[in-house]
Symmetry: C2
Subunit: 348 residues, 2 copies
């Protein structure tokens, strides 16, 4: 019996991923030169797939990096001379903020209060970049995009960088309000880890701090369907294939199904006695990362589910023992979620 991974990333592979890896092996994708025309065709298809899937307008360019931590670093290096401003809603937004201090910036941050909409925040003077984590994989908070757009409407001259690491491709981002966004392939695309996708408004792609991954270098190569370094060619090929599969299924259908599965899970945990959704304010509940407070029983519950060949994530950091985290990505089918709920029910 196969194991199903509900971990928030790396996670279950997209159902077609294995088939595409087999085809890649047959077609010697891993032996192709990253300067060959065959590679450029693959690169172009991958970028086209991401652009279509996320409806990214021509105002924005797309490039590949190796991880979301790299994306965070390159964004700060290229966009911030003195200070960025960070909205903290969990461990990953905190990590992004801490990274700016390591890089010698004098950035500022504020902790998100769920009682106040994020757009009511006062942005400090001389902020060069506003950094927001759309979906906090650590806590299961998802900030409504409409609130983030309002931050931009109130501060039209300050670029906004949005971490959609665990919300893409579910998040239907309106890039009119978002200057930079990034995510990794091992979450909502259901692919092997080792690649992240960076989306940057063309106005900003000429920034040039750093070396081979300074925006200018990165996007100069990207326009020619290449990367400055020898990249994770296999993953770029898989992005090209899996985005096609998702587009065939229609992204609207994937998004709707994500919400149906999330509702089903939250409804179950509202009424069962195993635990309660950690985020009580429904407005801020993540559709892709369902975090459940299980009264310090996360080890026991994860262990029992593992025996049924279902792997859930435990809490992040300080919440390790108190939380269970369930990824609800496109690769997690309605049937898988129903089976997971049945397994939870049988725990009682």
């Amino acid at each position: 019996m196969t194991i199903i991974y509900f971990t928030p990333g790396p996670s279950q592979l997209f159902p077609t991923a294995q088939k595409h890896i087999q085809q890649a092996l047959k077609d010697d994708i891993c032996s192709l030169s990253h300067r060959s025309n065959s590679f450029k065709v693959i690169y172009k298809e991958a970028v086209r797939g991401i652009r279509k899937l996320l409806t990214i307008p021509d105002t924005h360019e797309i490039a590949f990096l190796s991880s979301s931590l790299e994306a965070m670093e390159r964004i700060i290096e290229n966009m911030v001379i003195n200070k960025s401003f960070h909205v903290i809603d969990g461990a990953f937004s905190q990590k992004w903020y801490d990274m700016t201090l390591s890089l010698g910036k004098k950035s500022l941050s504020t902790t998100l209060e769920l009682s106040k909409p994020v757009n009511s925040l006062t942005i400090p003077k001389h902020t060069e970049l506003i950094c927001i984590t759309h979906n906090e994989t650590s806590t299961g908070i998802m900030i409504p995009l409409s609130e983030i757009y309002r931050v931009k409407k109130r501060n039209p001259s300050i670029p906004i960088a949005l971490d959609v690491v665990s919300s893409a491709p579910y998040a239907a981002i309106d890039f009119k309000y978002i200057d930079i966004a990034f995510f990794s392939v091992q979450k909502g695309l259901g692919l092997p880890a080792g690649l992240s996708i960076l989306i940057v408004n063309k106005r900003l792609t000429q920034k040039s701090v750093g070396s081979y991954h300074a925006f200018k270098e990165l996007f100069k190569k990207s326009v020619d369907n290449q990367t400055p370094e020898t990249p994770n060619v296999l993953d770029i090929y898989l992005v090209a294939q899996v985005t096609k599969d998702m587009l065939k299924k229609r992204i609207q259908a994937i998004r709707l199904e994500t919400e149906e599965k999330a509702d089903m899970l939250y409804n179950f945990f509202e009424t069962c006695n195993i635990g309660r959704p950690f985020i009580t304010d429904k407005k801020y509940r993540s559709s892709t990362t369902i975090v459940i407070d299980v009264n310090n029983k996360s080890e026991q519950i994860a262990g029992l589910l593992k025996k049924k060949r279902m792997i859930v994530g435990r809490g992040y950091g300080e919440y390790k023992n108190t939380h269970i985290r369930i990824a609800n990505f496109p690769q997690h089918s309605m049937k898988m979620m129903k089976d997971l709920i049945s397994a939870f029910r049988a725990l009682k």
Copy 2:
């Protein structure tokens, strides 16, 4: 009929690579959390494999980055405040030097003259790091390791960083004289691209410039068999497996075979009328990257060989039309090389 890739990287996969990828898919390696114990076991095996294969002593630590360009950048960031000194023997050593200028350093460089041994070079005052490219993938120059050790003997207080991107694991490095070394898995390990290996003397692993890949952060995680970011888990798994296979075959045997194949190729081109080895001084001829000057016929020759399902590299940069480059890595068997020579012979 299968295609054989003699390109200098990405190249032919190691013969067991496909089998290991199949096993990885069966064992859900791509769905494992990079914070799980299962991952730590894989990480440990990969590091142990590299350590044994390259006889890396306990004085040095091993970590993973995403590409050799990243390795070059992190080394300069962490090791150089003002200036490094670079020995230029082709396009990749030039790229490393140029990178230091992009990073705001006042580094110096000298072009290697094959008539003078590298150890006769005068190292400029206040040099913080000596950077040498052991094997220039662009020109097919391999500097004898003994000459590089002599540089260290004459300058014992200055750390040496050695690019062994296309010479590992053939290069039998004596780490007594080398402080830092790095290479990528898509060359001499015959694995899919998207991972590089960084070896650093323990004295230097506490350097802390940058953010998540500052040496201190990187090696703090490495000691715990993890990476700061979500890494290319599949490739780390494959490193663990392929190094085992190479150790079974014995590294001494692999090195000897590499030299036999190289001798056979050079001998052939010494006497045929298709072209001549670009590097005439045998002392500096690469064993792993055989570069042949084919009198501006590289496009024609590569095209004819492609029809026989053999892919060779064309010249690098300015040499695109004049050179053919043939990778001679552990995954290229004696039989493959004999077949390649037969194919060259039939071109006449």
